[in-house]
Symmetry: C2
Amino acid sequence: LKCYKSVSEIKKRVDLAVIVIPPEFSNKAVLECAKKGVKGCIIITAGYKEVGGEGAKREEELEKIVKRYKIRCIGPNCLGVFNPSSGVDTLFLPVFKLKRPEDGKIAIIAQSGAFGSVLLDLAADSGLGISKFVSYGNAVDIDEADLIKFFGNDKETKAITAYIEGVKNGRKFLETCYKVSRKKPIIVLKAGKSSKGSEAATSHTGSLAGKYSIYKGAFKQCGIIEALTIEQMFDFSRILSYESEIKGNRVAVVTNGGGFGVLSTDAIERNGLNLVEFEEEVRKKLQKVLPNYAKVHNPLDLIGDATPERYRGALEILMDYEGVDVILVVALMQTASMNSQIIDIFADLKQEYKKPFVVCMAGGEYTRIHSSNLEKLGIPVYPTPTRAADSIKALYDYWNWRRKHKNYRSNHQNFNY
Amino acid sequence: LKCYKSVSEIKKRVDLAVIVIPPEFSNKAVLECAKKGVKGCIIITAGYKEVGGEGAKREEELEKIVKRYKIRCIGPNCLGVFNPSSGVDTLFLPVFKLKRPEDGKIAIIAQSGAFGSVLLDLAADSGLGISKFVSYGNAVDIDEADLIKFFGNDKETKAITAYIEGVKNGRKFLETCYKVSRKKPIIVLKAGKSSKGSEAATSHTGSLAGKYSIYKGAFKQCGIIEALTIEQMFDFSRILSYESEIKGNRVAVVTNGGGFGVLSTDAIERNGLNLVEFEEEVRKKLQKVLPNYAKVHNPLDLIGDATPERYRGALEILMDYEGVDVILVVALMQTASMNSQIIDIFADLKQEYKKPFVVCMAGGEYTRIHSSNLEKLGIPVYPTPTRAADSIKALYDYWNWRRKHKNYRSNHQNFNY
């Protein structure tokens, strides 16, 4: 590759600069880029606000350059961006250690670089596609609100998930999220909730993590779905990017393992969802497709000898049944009578009906082959009933918020500051 | 294989009968076994108490046979047993669908057959060894308390984990668990917590799931560690079977990713554990093994360019430091400076020090190779800081209970019935 001493030596136009030199020289490089007319730069270099002292001064200086020359910056102290469809990849981590995910519908925003890299690696490993990834570090210019706004207008993105330690500008963040949430879901994992966790966040990305209770309230107001764990970031993103509107919170559970029916019921009740009783007419229909030793109620136990065809029979009835808004289907693949036909049946249901359904499949390799095939069809699959029920709750919360805020105008009156 | 019309035709002694014929004939088969002098039988057959009506009568009849002839029974309506060291395997599920785990130290008890099969499959898939597995279904004779007592005396078992919908005999269960908990940990996932979940449990295994609050109190009294999810059943079993005593709740966090340090801190505080401040002397020692741009506090961020040797330096100091009882080590393998040497370092620490430590490694294939190698060395590894911190809490709760109950006599006075 041809190298230059300085960006000013380059004759052609430069679209993007990626700064990876030591902090003593990084501001100078940004300044040269700005003077040259480079539109955007990503500053990977660390040693800014997060280290205090000299670093804090360095960041102030950088901010002045950025403002004066209006060059848009991601970073410093970040990993940069990854875009599977265009191939742009500023991550400085080797591919054999950190796999890159395929093209998909979920945008990932991570303040922390290491955290972001783990998210990418996990997404790639579980076959989850992403639209774009941004690690934005200290956010000297572009912050979480800018990114959420951008992804709100990005056609390749159906859901946005973000790891946030602290929000830079509360009002801007709230207003942006309120607008975007009315178009597509935003899922946020907030770190630095505890008092010591908040201190740790300050020395990590120089963020003021602030009071968690305030964040929690703000998230609710602007339709953000909060993830409490890394697993939930993905679990909620999947259901919210695959499924369209859910009309209410009335859940039916269909299972071939009684214990999983009990655990599903516990998780549904804990989430405040409604495990409805089936009406007499539906019970009669269901009884016809079930063996005579099966009892019809909700959770509906298809019994351990259930075949894929028995699933089809029961699920078609529940899909047509207006008393139910969503179905949690437990399909344990370990039993003798279960086989790969179940995939075709779920695929048919997904195509024929609009009613959302999620699948719970728990187990090892044989199970995983089936669950990853369902994911490719856009059906969310979860490894435990708890995670399936929590995800249904996220879907319900989002659409419930969106319906309520359908006719609101996005202005200050919507928020209790 | 030579077949017989009836067990009474067999001339030789029979140790164990496995009953897998339809329910109309199963009691007669048990009776024949009892008369022949067979010591134990496993009744896989379903169609007993759990279906009500005829089934309930069938179960009463079975109970009479069992009591009269003193034949010990597991089941009915169960999967039976699996013992990796002896090879006894009564599971009627094909191995390609349900892998069997290797020999190990954790005993699994599951009332639900389907649930038990998933646990086995998950254990096999994650390389977790088990000592024995029992699915006991309706518990006409041998119940959860009998099994816990048995595993309490089983030399191959270091920790017992159980999935329970309802306890048959509360007093017997409490007293057994109290005694066993003083020798080895018991981890229980209780299903049927909600009112509808409790109803579902009744129609599943005919159990009276009872009030959850009563169970919760009872578990606490007799030292049972409660798992709230399937993941926690394994997470807690691993730390409790690998690690020996933990002296207190003072935690140090060491990480190469700042965000994971923040999340660890949140999870430690949520669990009521103590993220101690390091004393001046220790801080000085730590500063010597760290680069000058690293700040020394807890969580200790070794910075993204941390090498395995830097981990060794910091961890040796914290292992020697008496102000800390346990270390949560986050080791993200995605960075350029991390490599497989980290395994040797953790192995050395495990051998040289008694202080417990857990590792958090998050990521895809490259990460998994390392975490499964650590598991083989008896070091518990978790995929998220939350799960690592929750597991430390389980270890602390167990040993805290055990120290308090060291000198108690096991009698009724210990319980508030």
